[in-house]
């Protein structure tokens, strides 16, 4: 961009500064409230300087089985991520290498599978899982999350595979490699960064998901997002616990933003912005 004067720079800093502060307030509130003693939670005027306490975090793991909820979230998240990246990268390789005039339609069709409203299929899932005894199990959520994660992986990995030069694969074929060997010995290692990106997106999506987790789990497979919501009960709202749980849940997303910002654009805009 072009050079700007000191006065203009001051203007830019002031405006972005104000917007930044406004946008950071809710995040500050989550952290601050998770550390505030319950008595200070809504004091007037709000206490900015308070003696931080880890009591709410301790309560989460002693009065509530939050470690169990986190474990459930991790099982579901890692299970779905591993399954989706495996199946999705195979599909992406096929879409990347098959030459056919309608192959783009197939790619779009697969991608559209993740765009349908979850609420529209939650009833069928509920009935199907109930009839096969999968309600309230991690496996049910692994299956459901994969329906969103596989299309995303196929879509993103296709882009990464497209950039691997086919000449390398042709050379390997001349050397007598079969296509399966070519895939996992040559193409996949070259597209490894893509696998990491897809894995992270699958992880964050599954970790943050709420609607399916709410409908399809009960007490035994309850994930962290549903557990935090359950601290909200009409008789006594445990704000300290809600905020402590919320803070723990938002950590992976924040780490992702701080470390792989470059991939965020590609993944979230589905490649429509370069």
């Amino acid at each position: 961009m072009n050079k700007i004067s000191t006065r203009q720079a001051t203007f830019v800093y002031i405006v972005t500064g104000i917007i930044l502060i406004i946008f950071m307030i809710p995040i500050y509130l989550i952290l601050a409230s998770s550390l505030k003693p319950s008595a200070d939670m809504f004091s007037r005027p709000p206490t900015v300087f308070f003696t931080p306490t880890l009591q709410h975090y301790v309560d989460l793991f002693t009065l509530r089985p939050f470690h169990q909820n986190i474990l459930n979230s991790l099982i579901v998240t890692l299970g779905s991520t591993a399954f989706s990246v495996t199946v999705g990268s195979l599909g992406a390789f096929a879409l990347s290498r098959i030459r056919h005039p309608r192959i783009n339609d197939a790619a779009f069709w697969i991608l559209s599978m993740r765009m349908f409203p979850p609420i529209a299929v939650v009833v069928p899932y509920y009935i199907i899982f109930k009839s096969v005894g999968l309600l309230d199990t991690p496996l049910a959520l692994i299956i459901v999350y994969s329906t969103a994660n596989i299309p995303l992986t196929v879509w993103l990995m296709k882009g990464f595979f497209d950039e691997v030069p086919e000449a390398l694969e042709e050379a390997a074929q001349v050397d007598g490699y079969g296509i399966v060997e070519i895939f996992y010995r040559i193409t996949l290692p070259l597209a490894a960064p893509g696998l990491a990106v897809c894995a992270v997106f699958c992880f964050i999506f599954s970790w943050n998901e709420f609607l399916f987790a709410l409908m399809l789990t009960g007490s035994s497979a309850q994930t962290a997002t549903v557990a935090v919501m359950s601290f909200w009960s009409s008789d006594a709202v445990q704000w300290g616990r809600i905020m402590a749980g919320s803070f723990i849940i938002l950590i992976p997303g924040v780490i992702f933003v701080l470390t792989c910002q470059k991939w965020l654009v590609k993944g979230l805009t589905l490649g429509s912005v370069k």
Binding site: V12, F23, R44, P45, F93, P118, E170, L264
Partner: protein
């Protein structure tokens, strides 16, 4: 044809098979099941009553009775408001954070955080902010002399409260997409336009904006698809209420299916919403292909 000869194409089909098989079982099958349910009278609270075929009665109820049309109106109203603010603020922010000034990259990174937060957490923190009697927002607007606003408990304000939370979460998305697009544009046209003595606003409107258009259209459809599905934030803040003031399509389906246990009606509404979102998805793909050609 390259090295992928006929034999290898067959194998490539095998590579594709797991994806197609899994998606068929886990997406197409539930959708077909929803279609089946939409023609039945199915009360989940009374599972032993046979699921009678009722023809198009569920669709008739959905399309001709008030509540579904009302939820459609709420959904599109919310979409129009949130998208307008997200794009105006988001594009403005993108212009600011792409200035080459020290510290801007860090500010931009921090601004991306809201969209990576689970929507249920977003709902909970805004519930904390809006909370009747105790919430901080009313305290702070009280300091500047504004009377307390019943953010989530009045039909007049509830939708605004939800819109603010959604705008907070998704404005960064528009900023991020626009900023990335801005940085991929070549600088020459601006410099030429500025040297010619045009004002910055003119340069933005007549030089930058036309170049951003394909990206903005793609982002718009992506946001519209998401806005159409909005559920979590509303579920936490108002559960669709007070009354039906914030009942979007997703909340309508939820209420029919899991409050009234009328699975047939819920499924019919689901199907209508699938058709609407298919239109949005098709428009998104069209916009993507167009911008790929333009590139």
């Amino acid at each position: 044809m390259g090295y992928v000869n006929r034999r290898n194409r067959t194998i490539a089909g095998v590579f594709l098979l797991p994806t197609v098989a899994v998606l068929f079982l886990t997406t197409i099958y539930p959708m077909l099941y929803a279609l089946y349910l939409s023609f039945r009278n199915y009360d989940l609270a009374k599972p032993f009553i046979p699921r009678i075929f009722v023809g198009l009665a569920n669709f008739q109820e959905v399309l001709t009775s008030g509540p579904f049309m009302h939820s459609m109106w709420i959904t599109f109203k919310l979409m129009a408001v949130t998208l307008t603010f997200q794009f105006v603020i988001g594009v403005g922010l993108a212009l600011l954070v792409t200035q080459r000034l020290p510290g801007m990259a860090a500010i931009r990174t921090l601004l991306l955080i809201p969209m990576m937060i689970s929507p249920v957490i977003v709902g909970l923190v805004w519930l904390f902010i809006y909370f009747p009697e105790l919430g901080y927002l009313n305290y702070f607007i009280g300091l500047i002399g504004i009377n307390p606003i019943p953010w989530i408990t009045s039909t007049q304000w509830a939708l605004t409260a939800i819109a603010i939370a959604d705008i907070w979460q998704w404005t960064p998305f528009v900023m991020m997409g626009t900023a990335a697009a801005l940085q991929s544009l070549s600088p020459e046209p601006y410099e030429a336009a500025l040297i010619d003595g045009n004002s910055r606003i003119d340069v933005f409107l007549y030089v930058t904006l036309p170049q951003l258009k394909p990206v903005l259209i793609s982002l718009l459809f992506l946001r519209a698809i998401d806005a159409f599905k909005i559920y979590d934030i509303i579920f936490v803040l108002t559960k669709g209420g007070p009354g039906d003031a914030t009942e979007t399509i997703a909340l309508y389906i939820y209420r029919q299916s899991f409050t009234f246990w009328r699975m047939g009606v819920g499924a019919a509404a689901s199907f209508v919403s699938l058709i609407i979102i298919s239109v949005l998805i098709t428009l998104f793909f069209k916009s993507m292909q167009k911008s790929a050609v333009a590139r």
